[in-house]
């Protein structure tokens, strides 16, 4: 019995030992990576170069956390899950928005790695920018509204296209790369790709009874500013086809309401049809006005 115990103890410690042994294996003898990281705040700043030991499979966030622990304790970076699920660690690597936890250092194969904060928002410090504007837009969005009581009878066929926009992890990289925000600073009149994604599923939800076209065209949405140049789609880490599957469908709905004379005439003559049931719901079916 005692012998068995001793053996078990021995085994347990071996497994723990593995934890360290593995990392030593992975650390590449003598190799190192160089990163140039923006250090500064709202007032300005400069790039600082750091050199760190190379570890196999390392992502840029690993490198930054290493720098934080060993070289610059006050290097500000925002991160949470480190698994590309939460969307916290967005920053710009070589001018392109990336999740730091997903960007493998090896991918840059010897190129410069220059890490900067997202530039469509005010910089707080180092790699952290103030994204609170996004939450103001979130508050302005017309929330899910229904006149039915859950549990809903809803079929996979009706909702399968809603899974895609629902994958959004709110990394706000689409907002960052959108030139309407980053270059033209239309923060006051434009909601940005992330919120078109949200409005799309809200609009297409079989049980939702609100109408959002007026918000999108006339209100905070400002969808007309979008000129569908697809940068948002290119950077989405969740693989959402933001332009094709969220923005353009919403633009088409706006066109139905505001830019289609035949549809306008039909509404005048016959009344508005419900997108849910196809039933005519009266001439003033638009609850939002508009």
């Amino acid at each position: 019995m005692e012998e068995q115990e001793a053996q078990q103890k021995d085994m347990a410690s071996k497994a723990h030992a593995d934890v360290h042994a593995d990392e030593e294996d992975a650390a590449r003898e003598g190799e190192s990576y160089k990163l140039r990281i923006f250090r500064g705040d709202a007032e300005g700043g400069r790039e600082v170069e750091y050199e760190i030991p190379a570890v196999e499979g390392m992502v840029v966030l690993d490198a930054i956390l290493y720098i934080q622990a060993h070289q610059a304790g006050d290097l500000a970076v925002r991160w949470n899950c480190k698994a590309a699920h939460c969307g916290s660690c967005s920053a710009e690597i070589n001018g392109k928005p990336k999740l730091l936890c997903k960007a493998r250092v090896e991918e840059y194969g010897g190129q410069d790695i220059r890490v900067h904060p997202m530039r469509a928002f005010p910089v707080i410090k180092d790699l952290v920018s103030d994204v609170s504007w996004n939450y103001e837009v979130a508050r302005s969005t017309i929330p899910f509204t229904t006149d039915e009581q859950a549990p809903f009878e809803m079929y996979e066929e009706d909702v399968e296209r809603l899974y895609e926009p629902k994958k959004c992890i709110e990394c706000f990289m689409c907002q960052d790369v959108c030139h309407v925000l980053r270059t033209h600073q239309k923060h006051e009149e434009f909601a940005g790709p992330r919120f078109f994604v949200r409005n799309q599923w809200l609009e297409m939800h079989p049980k939702d009874t609100e109408r959002r076209v007026e918000y999108l065209k006339e209100g905070r949405g400002g969808i007309g500013y979008c000129n569908i140049t697809k940068c948002c789609t290119e950077v989405c880490p969740a693989g959402i086809h933001i332009t094709d599957n969220s923005i353009i469908p919403l633009k088409e709905r706006v066109a139905d309401e505001y830019y289609d004379p035949a549809k306008w005439l039909m509404r005048k003559i016959r009344g508005r049809r419900s997108p849910k049931t196809g039933q005519i719901i009266g001439r003033n079916g638009n609850r939002n006005g508009g």
Partner: protein, 250 residues
């Protein structure tokens, strides 16, 4: 397949950001000049049983002879493409640099000042009539399909020639481009919120899903069909000029 695209993608991503917009500008400008020249200076788009897609359907023109009757037809496909969601992206990026590319470096080069940027709110709000161009384009496509059938009937009976194959490829790509249109997808199913609640919903859902698959390749079809149009017209002009003879396959 995936590895091939990845292998191509890597080096392309390494190119400087301005390569993309400049290429698009060059190709679109080239196409525009060719079309202008072809339509304004050469009014004969017909050779044997082939009718160039630029001249279909043929119109009896009341205009002076130096003005090609093609302009009565051509505005429709041109308008369809000019208001197309894909081409919009292409020319906003290539011609207007709004933005030329996605990197911060490229976006810093945007020429328009913040006050002047209106997106699709001012002039470009007209792009919203895209759906009407689409309706018209489908009518044209019917004529082009008939032309393609005629191309397979050299001397009145069935036969396959190089020309007929070019026609077939061209019309297939044109159909693919038109069917993958975002507006069509919206009208067929995009505007319905609950398929199981409306009559015929299931058929619409299936059509929507199918069109969505096509739609993912809209940009590809946009380019391929542009080139196939060009090639078809050039082929006919080469036949007219006697530079080549039509190859009979069957």
């Amino acid at each position: 397949m995936a590895s091939i695209t990845a292998a191509i993608k890597k080096p392309i991503q390494r190119l400087p950001w301005w390569v993309g917009p400049i290429t698009v500008t060059a190709v679109l400008t080239g196409f525009g000049i060719y079309t202008m020249v072809a339509v304004l200076f050469f009014d004969r788009g017909e050779y044997a049983n082939y009718l160039s897609p630029f001249y279909s359907p043929p119109v009896n023109s009341p205009l002076p002879a130096w003005l090609s009757p093609a302009i009565f037809v051509l505005w429709l496909p041109l308008g369809f493409r000019a208001t197309c969601y894909y081409y919009r992206k292409a020319y906003y990026r290539a011609f207007f640099w709004d933005p030329p590319a996605c990197s911060s470096k490229a976006q810093q080069r945007e020429p328009r000042s913040t006050e002047n940027y209106r997106g699709e709110r001012n002039l470009f709000v007209w792009n919203n009539i895209h759906r009407y161009f689409m309706y018209g384009s489908f009518v044209l496509l019917i004529f082009l399909t008939i032309d393609t059938v005629r191309a397979f009937l050299p001397e009145g009976s069935f036969g396959i020639t190089l020309g007929s194959l070019i026609f077939l490829v061209n019309v297939t790509l044109l159909w693919s481009y038109s069917l993958s249109c975002h507006s069509l997808r919206h009208i067929v199913g995009g505007r319905v919120d609950c398929y199981s609640c409306v009559t015929g919903g299931n058929a619409r859902r299936k059509a929507y899903s199918w069109l969505s698959v096509l739609n993912q390749n809209h940009a590809l079809f946009a380019w391929l069909s542009l080139f196939s149009l060009l090639i078809t017209d050039i082929y006919i002009r080469l036949l007219l000029a006697g530079a080549v003879t039509d190859l009979r396959i069957l």
